[in-house]
C-alpha cells in the first residue's frame, strides 16, 4: 500500500520510425504483442500491481489507437474519481497548435496535472521496453538509500545497442557515476531501463529549471546534465528479469517469437504480477478437423484448420485448411486462406492473404504486411 504515494507517468512520444509500417498509425506503446497485449500493458499493469493508483500517459502523435486501447482505464482498475488513468494529449489552444517538443516539454505542459495529484513521488517511464516489474522493491530501495533519484537499469547484454540507449557507470555504493547517451559502442554494461523514481517536488523543480534553460530532453538535459551540475545523488536499481527493447522490426519480431517459449512466457506472465489488457469477449480458439498446430501461442477467437508452426496468432485470426504458416506473427483478425504458405512474416491487423498466396521472408528480415492489406 506504500506505492499509493507514488504516481506513474508514462511518456509515449518516442521516436518510432525504426518500426517502419508498424508504427505508421500507432505509437510504439500501442504495438500489439504476444497475441493479445499492447506494449504499454506491461508497464501499466506493473504500476498497478505495485499499488500505484494514479497513472498519466503522455501522448504525442498517433494516439487514437492508444486512447482507444486504454479507454477509461477500467481494465487496470484505474477508473477512480480522484486517482485513476489520465490521458494527456498535447495542448491545442487558440494560440498553440502543436505537439510536445520532447519529454521535458511534455512534463512542463502537464504541470497542472502534476500539481493536482496527491502523490509525493513520481515514477517516470518511457514506453519502448517490454518488461513486467513490480516496483515496490525499487521504491523501498530508493527510500532506504536516501538518494535523490533512482534509475532502473539492466545488465542484459541484449539490451545494448550501438549508437542508441543510455548507459551507466555505477560505483560500489550503487550510485551512478557516469552517464553516456547514444554512444557508438556502449562502454558500460548497465543499460538504462528508462524508469526514474524521485520526489514529485524535485521532478517539478528539475522540469521547471530545464524548461527555463530551453532544454527539451529529460534524459540528456535533465538526468545527465542538470543532476550532475547540481551534485545530486543518483542511485541505480538493477532489474534482473526478462526485458526486451522494441526498437526495430527485428527486435519486435524476435520478442514475439521468443514469448512462445514457455520459460520466457512464464517469466513475463507471472501469476503474482498479472498483465491486464483490454478484453474483447471472444470465444475460445476453435480448432477444426485439419488443424496441425505446434510450438505456437494462439489467442481466443482464432479459428484454425491449417498447419501452424512457431507462430503467434492474435485474437480472431483465421487459418484455413491447407494453409501453412511458420515463424509468423499474425495480428488480430487477419485471414490466411486455403493453400497459403507464409514464412517469417509479420501481418498487421486485418490483413488478408488470398488463396494459394506465398510469402517467404528471410529469417532475420521478416516481411511486414500492413494493416488492412489484401494480398
Amino acid at each position: 500500500m506504500a506505492m499509493k504515494n507514488v504516481m506513474g507517468i508514462i511518456y509515449t512520444g518516442e521516436k518510432d520510425s525504426f518500426l517502419r509500417e508498424l508504427t505508421l498509425a500507432r505509437a510504439i506503446a500501442a504495438m500489439p504483442v504476444a497475441g493479445r497485449y499492447r506494449v504499454i500493458d506491461f508497464l501499466v499493469s506493473g504500476l498497478v500491481n505495485s499499488g500505484v493508483k494514479n497513472v498519466g500517459v503522455i501522448m504525442q502523435k498517433n494516439y487514437h489507437s492508444l486512447m482507444d486501447h486504454l479507454g477509461s482505464g477500467k481494465e487496470w482498475d484505474l477508473h477512480g474519481k480522484n486517482d485513476g488513468l489520465y490521458i494527456l494529449p498535447p495542448f491545442l489552444t487558440r494560440e498553440n497548435v502543436g505537439v510536445y517538443n520532447g519529454s521535458l516539454d511534455a512534463l512542463h505542459s502537464n504541470f497542472g496535472y502534476l500539481r493536482r495529484s496527491r502523490q509525493e513521488y513520481v515514477l517516470l517511464c518511457n514506453s519502448t521496453i517490454v518488461f513486467n516489474a513490480n516496483f515496490e522493491e525499487m521504491f523501498e530501495a530508493h527510500n532506504r538509500s536516501g538518494v535523490d533519484v533512482t534509475i532502473m537499469y539492466t545488465r542484459n547484454p541484449d539490451m545494448r545497442r550501438p549508437e542508441y540507449g543510455t548507459y551507466f557507470e555505477i560505483g560500489a555504493d550503487g550510485l551512478i557515476t557516469d552517464v553516456e547517451i547514444d554512444p557508438t559502442r556502449p562502454r558500460y554494461e548497465n543499460t538504462c531501463m528508462e524508469v526514474f523514481l524521485l520526489r514529485k517536488d524535485l521532478l517539478m523543480d528539475l522540469v521547471d529549471r530545464g524548461a527555463a534553460h530551453g532544454y527539451h530532453d529529460m534524459q540528456r538535459d535533465v538526468f545527465q546534465r542538470l543532476i550532475r551540475d547540481a551534485g545530486m545523488r543518483v542511485g541505480g536499481y538493477e532489474y534482473k528479469d526478462v526485458c526486451y527493447r522494441m526498437d526495430s522490426v527485428q527486435s519486435y519480431f524476435k520478442f514475439n517469437l521468443d514469448v512462445i517459449d514457455p520459460k520466457i512466457r512464464h517469466a513475463l506472465f507471472r501469476e503474482d504480477n498479472p498483465v491486464y489488457t483490454k478484453v474483447r469477449d471472444e470465444l475460445p480458439a476453435r480448432y477444426l478437423e485439419n488443424a496441425k498446430v505446434v510450438h505456437s501461442i494462439v489467442a481466443d477467437g482464432c479459428i484454425v484448420d491449417g498447419t501452424v508452426e512457431n507462430c503467434v496468432l492474435f485474437r480472431g485470426v483465421k487459418i484455413a485448411s491447407g494453409a501453412k504458416v511458420k515463424n509468423c506473427v499474425i495480428m488480430q483478425d487477419s485471414q490466411i486462406e486455403e493453400g497459403v504458405q507464409l514464412e517469417n512474416c509479420i501481418l498487421d491487423k486485418q490483413a488478408i492473404i488470398k488463396r494459394d498466396g506465398r510469402l517467404i521472408g528471410p529469417n532475420a528480415y521478416p516481411i511486414v504486411i500492413s494493416k488492412d492489406m489484401t494480398i
Binding site: G35, D281, P284, D300
Partner: protein
C-alpha cells in the same frame, strides 16, 4: 438511485441444482462453467445487457460465494452502473427475524421493496438454467402489443420429449388456455422456458395473494401461473425458436458443451451484435507445444497443451501434459491432466488434477465426473458414470 425503469429483470439463481451432482457441491448452478470461458449465468446476464435491460436482481440463497465473486461489480456485462446495474439479493432479516426463500415466487415476494425502487412497468423473471440467446426487448414489445398480464416464452420441443416439460396449451392467437406440468399425454409441444414477462402491478397483486395462502408452495409454475389462468388473466405465449439447452444434469451439461464443437455451431457465439460476456481470466494466450495434437476442440487462454486434445472443451489454465489425452471431454479451469493420463467422455471440474497414467471415463456409457480440486492419484481408474469428489 430512484430512476424509473420501464423493465427490470429478476434472475432466480437460488437453486441447488442437485441433479448436477458433485459439480454443485460448492457452488450455485448458475456459476457452473460452460463453453470454455463462460458460466451459465453469462447467458441471461448478456441477454439482459444486449436487450437494453440494465437492472438485474440476482436472487441467491445457496452457496452464493462463487457466484457473488464472479458477478462482482457487474463490469463484464456493462452492469456496473450508478443508476441500475446488477444486484445480488440474498434473504435477509426484517424486523426481528429472517426468512429463507421458500420458493421462486417467495423470493420475488421478499424483494418487492427492491423492485419498487425502480418503479418498473414490467418485471422479467429469468432462471439461470439454460444456454440461449434471446432478445427480451422483443418479448417486451410483444407483451405490450398484446396488452398481456404475463407473457411466457415457449419453445417447441420434440413431441416425445414434451412429457418432461411444463407445456403451454395455446389457442390460435397464442393465448395460453392451459398449463400442464409434465403431462403424460401432451396436447401441445410448446414448453415453458421459465422466462416470464409480467406487468408489475399484476405480478405484485398475485405475489401478495400467494404469500397469504399457507397451502401454496410459493412457486411460479405451480402457483402464480395457475392462479392467473384460473382468474382468466391475459396470458400469452411468446414463441422462441433459437438454440435452447437445459444444463440441469451432468449429461446435458456435457452435451451442451459438445454442441459447440459442431459445424456450424448451433448457437452462434461469434455474433458481434449479441456478444456473450463473461469475466476474463486475464492470462496469456494458450500454448500448443511441439508434438502436441489438437483437433476439433475449443481451447482458451492460459492452457498449455503438450499431449493430445480431440473433440473437447478446455477452460482457462488447463494443462495437458505429454502423452496425456483428452477426448470428448470438458476440462474446467486450471485442471491438470498429468503425463499419460487418458480422459474420455468426462467432465473434470475446476482445479482437479488427474494423476499420471490415470484413466477417467470410457468410450461409451455415462459421463464420468471429477469434482472441484480433487487430486486423483497416479494410475487411478474412474469408470463411465462415476463421480469422484475426493
Amino acid at each position: 438511485m430512484s430512476r424509473k425503469k420501464q423493465c427490470i429483470a429478476m434472475l432466480l439463481a437460488g437453486g441447488q441444482g442437485s441433479r448436477l451432482g458433485i459439480l454443485t457441491a460448492n457452488m450455485a448452478k448458475p456459476a457452473i462453467p460452460y463453453g470454455g470461458k463462460y458460466r451459465i449465468i453469462d447467458f441471461p446476464l448478456s441477454n439482459c445487457t444486449n436487450s437494453g435491460i440494465d437492472v438485474v436482481g440476482v436472487l441467491t440463497q445457496y452457496q452464493p460465494l462463487e457466484l457473488n465473486a464472479y458477478i462482482g461489480s457487474g463490469s463484464p456485462w456493462d452492469l456496473d452502473l450508478a443508476h441500475g446495474g446488477v444486484y445480488v439479493l440474498p434473504p435477509y432479516v426484517k424486523g426481528k427475524q429472517g426468512e429463507w426463500y421458500t420458493g421462486t415466487a417467495n423470493a420475488i415476494y421478499q424483494n418487492i421493496a427492491f423492485i419498487e425502487q425502480f418503479n418498473p412497468d414490467y418485471v422479467l423473471i429469468l432462471s439461470g438454467d439454460h444456454i440461449y440467446k434471446m432478445d427480451y426487448n422483443a418479448m417486451l414489445r410483444y407483451h405490450i402489443d398484446k396488452e398481456a398480464d404475463v407473457t411466457i416464452a415457449v419453445r417447441e420441443v420434440p413431441w416425445e420429449e414434451a412429457p418432461r416439460f411444463g407445456i403451454m396449451n395455446t389457442d390460435a392467437n397464442n393465448v395460453i388456455v392451459e398449463f400442464e406440468e409434465k403431462p403424460q399425454k401432451p396436447k401441445n409441444n410448446k414448453a415453458s422456458m421459465g422466462v416470464y414477462m409480467f406487468t408489475w402491478d399484476k405480478l405484485r397483486k398475485y405475489l401478495a395473494e400467494d404469500a397469504g395462502d399457507p397451502k401454496s408452495s410459493n412457486d411460479f409454475g405451480k402457483n402464480i401461473i395457475p392462479n392467473m389462468l384460473g382468474d382468466r388473466q391475459k396470458l400469452f405465449a411468446f414463441d422462441f425458436d433459437g438454440y435452447w439447452k437445459d444444463v440441469g444434469t451432468v449429461e446435458s451439461l456435457w452435451e451442451a458443451n459438445m454442441d459447440l464443437l459442431n459445424m456450424p455451431m448451433p448457437i452462434d457465439l461469434y455474433d458481434k451484435k449479441w456478444r456473450i460476456y463473461g469475466r476474463n481470466p486475464g492470462v496469456a494466450p494458450h500454448y500448443v507445444a511441439e508434438g502436441a495434437v489438437v483437433r476439433s476442440s475449443l481451447i482458451t487462454e492460459g492452457c498449455e497443451v503438450y499431449g493430445r486434445v480431440e473433440h473437447s472443451v478446455l477452460f482457462a489454465g488447463v494443462q495437458v501434459m505429454q502423452g496425456a489425452s483428452v477426448v470428448d471431454s470438458v476440462v474446467m479451469p486450471n485442471a491438470v491432466i498429468e503425463r499419460g493420463a487418458q480422459v474420455c467422455r468426462a467432465i473434470v471440474a475446476e482445479g482437479a488434477v488427474i494423476g499420471a497414467g490415470s484413466r477417467v471415463g470410457e468410450e461409451t456409457g455415462n459421463i464420468a465426473v471429477i469434482g472441484q480440486n480433487v487430486k486423483l492419484a497416479a494410475g487411478s481408474a474412474v469408470l463411465a458414470g462415476e463421480q469422484r469428489d475426493q
